[in-house]
């Protein structure tokens, strides 16, 4: 496998009882590339992402991250791989019982035992500054708006300087302006930190901002792969219909 491939998914199949969600799905993501995964709700986009991070086990296929087949790793080895991956959840998944500071310092305290309290505090403040929310450091998640939660979730995901970022619907539930702000923030952070990313979304505006390349999942298969402009200008009736709705929404 070439060194430039950060993620390689080979013939991935996943079903839930009788429901076939993914069948022989193969994708590759190159270093510093931003891949966007499109698809209708329930098309298996999030399942694909959760298989890549090891939260779900596929029924068939292989997943390579930096040339390591994560399906053959022990939990200890998988955790080593995970330390280099950030994951932004759809609902942000901030720890309710912790303040913003504690949410951000939690992974640092766990993985960087040599860091002093001062270094952790500095890193937390620097990362909050990146998402323009340094003032929220002592707030509880329940005191934050949806957009702020996304930003803090993003800050928590990047605080360990991951080389690969996975975004699960990063702009869902946000108004168009905040959605655009988050998308631009994601792009800026990726450029600044030189990260590779896979983003699952059905938000065309978000995809147009962050995507270098896109795939479209339909009926458990990759129905399209290419640049975002090619996808939106496709003559396929299904894609035309899908994106016409997205454009109206935007």
């Amino acid at each position: 496998m070439a060194d430039s491939r950060v993620v390689e998914v080979k013939k991935l199949t996943k079903r839930f009882d009788e429901l076939l969600v993914l069948e022989n799905v193969s994708i590759e993501v190159l270093r510093a590339e931003n891949l966007v995964v499109f698809g209708k709700s329930g098309s298996g986009k999030s399942v694909l992402l959760k298989c890549i991070i090891g939260l779900m086990k596929p029924d068939k296929g292989n997943i390579f991250i930096n040339s390591q087949n994560i399906l053959e790793l022990t939990i200890h080895q998988l955790n080593k791989v995970r330390k280099d991956i950030g994951f932004l959840f759809q609902g942000s998944a901030l720890y309710d019982s912790m303040t913003v500071r504690e949410n951000l310092s939690f992974p640092l305290k766990r993985h960087f035992e040599n860091m002093t309290a001062k270094q952790i505090e500095d890193k937390v403040r620097y990362t909050l500054d990146l998402v323009s929310l340094e003032d929220a450091i002592d707030k509880m998640p329940s005191e934050l708006s949806g957009g702020m939660k996304k930003r803090i979730g993003l800050a928590r995901s990047i605080i360990t300087d991951p080389a690969l970022m996975l975004y699960d619907e990063p702009t869902t539930g946000l108004d168009p302006i905040t959605s655009k702000e988050i998308s631009e923030l994601i792009l800026n952070l990726q450029k600044k930190l030189n990260m590779t990313s896979i983003a699952v979304t059905h938000d065309l505006i978000c995809a147009e901002i962050i995507a270098d390349r896109a795939i479209f999942l339909r009926d458990a298969h990759v129905a399209f792969e290419g640049r975002i402009e090619e996808l939106t200008s496709s003559h396929d009736p299904f894609l035309k219909n899908f994106f016409s709705h997205e454009i109206i929404k935007a």
Binding site: K50, I53, G54, L55, M56, K57, N79, K80, R82, K83, I85, F87, F89, Q90, G91, A93, L94, Y95, D96, S97, F106, P107, R110, H111, T160
Partner: protein
């Protein structure tokens, strides 16, 4: 049947619970479904226990987290167990006083109250109150973390959520319940004294010496020892129900409610077994 289910379950152990449908294709659950659910819960709980013992004895030990939970649980339940303990002692003495006097055994009242509280009522009532307050709390908290993907977030951050969330809470409940029970026993005995002095005069020194003379060390140990088991039950059941919750807010509510029911039931069953074992090991206590 249980072994077959266990084997089946082990091979499908992605989580610790199997899908437990409330309705299947629109029809109500049949008796077969209930039996299946019962064995699924039992099997899931067995595996969960096994996982606990595997992880409890491997580092890191998360001591500060255990201490934090012990503090929280102690503070959370201190008020309610104080009131309950005091009322138990008071009511027990009020109810027993006329009966003992009828048989000319009024002098035995301090001994009877203290022995009842030390050997049975104190540990069991405290455990049941603790289950109602703490098991449901753990079930709801972990259930909420599960359905809002906070547990997944921990897992993808390469942090062991089972150790951080489950092991620490179960150790905390196991350690704190015996301490609470000893406190409740003292409060209940004081409640008994209050009931006595309402109707007759008795000095506190006399009451205290009557209690100390009637309660032997052998009475105290089995009563306190079994609270370690009860504390473990409260923690593990709440954690299991919460950790395996699914189905949004409804699932969280279900986790919270079923935690209390299952924990209370198991406390009573284990109490019966432990009393039998105690009497078998120390026949002189009988």
């Amino acid at each position: 049947m249980y072994s077959i289910l266990l084997l089946f379950y082990s091979s499908h152990k992605n989580q610790f619970s199997m899908k437990l449908p409330q309705h299947i294709y629109g029809r109500r659950l049949s008796y077969i479904d209930y039996i299946y659910n019962f064995f699924a819960t039992l099997t899931g709980l067995t595996i969960f226990n096994w996982e606990f013992f595997k992880q409890a004895f491997t580092p890191p030990f998360e001591i500060s987290e255990v201490r934090k939970h012990m503090d929280e649980l102690g503070v959370k339940t201190l008020g309610i167990v104080s009131i309950t303990g005091f009322i138990i002692g008071l009511v027990l003495a009020m109810q027993s006083q006329p009966v003992l006097q009828r048989f000319g055994a009024g002098d035995f009242l301090p001994g009877m109250v203290s022995l009842s509280v030390v050997r049975e009522l104190g540990p069991v009532i405290t455990a049941l109150i603790f289950a109602g307050r703490v098991s449901s709390g753990i079930g709801a908290e972990l259930g909420s973390m599960r359905v809002t993907e906070q547990i997944d977030a921990m897992e993808v951050s390469a942090i062991n959520p089972f150790k951080y969330l489950v092991v620490t809470r179960v150790i905390a409940t196991t350690m704190i319940l015996p301490i609470l029970t000893m406190y409740v026993v003292i409060i209940a005995i004081l409640g008994g004294y209050l009931a006595i002095i309402i109707t007759e005069s008795m000095s506190f020194q006399y009451y205290q010496s009557a209690v100390v003379n009637s309660v032997e060390f052998g009475d105290l140990i089995p009563g306190i020892a079994k609270t370690f088991v009860f504390g473990y039950i409260v923690g593990i059941v709440g954690a299991y129900k919460g950790y395996t919750a699914e189905g949004g807010t409804e699932g969280v509510g279900r986790a919270s409610t079923t935690s209390v029911v299952l924990a209370s039931l198991l406390i009573l069953i284990f109490d019966m077994v432990l009393v039998k074992i105690t009497l078998w090991l120390w026949p002189t206590l009988g």
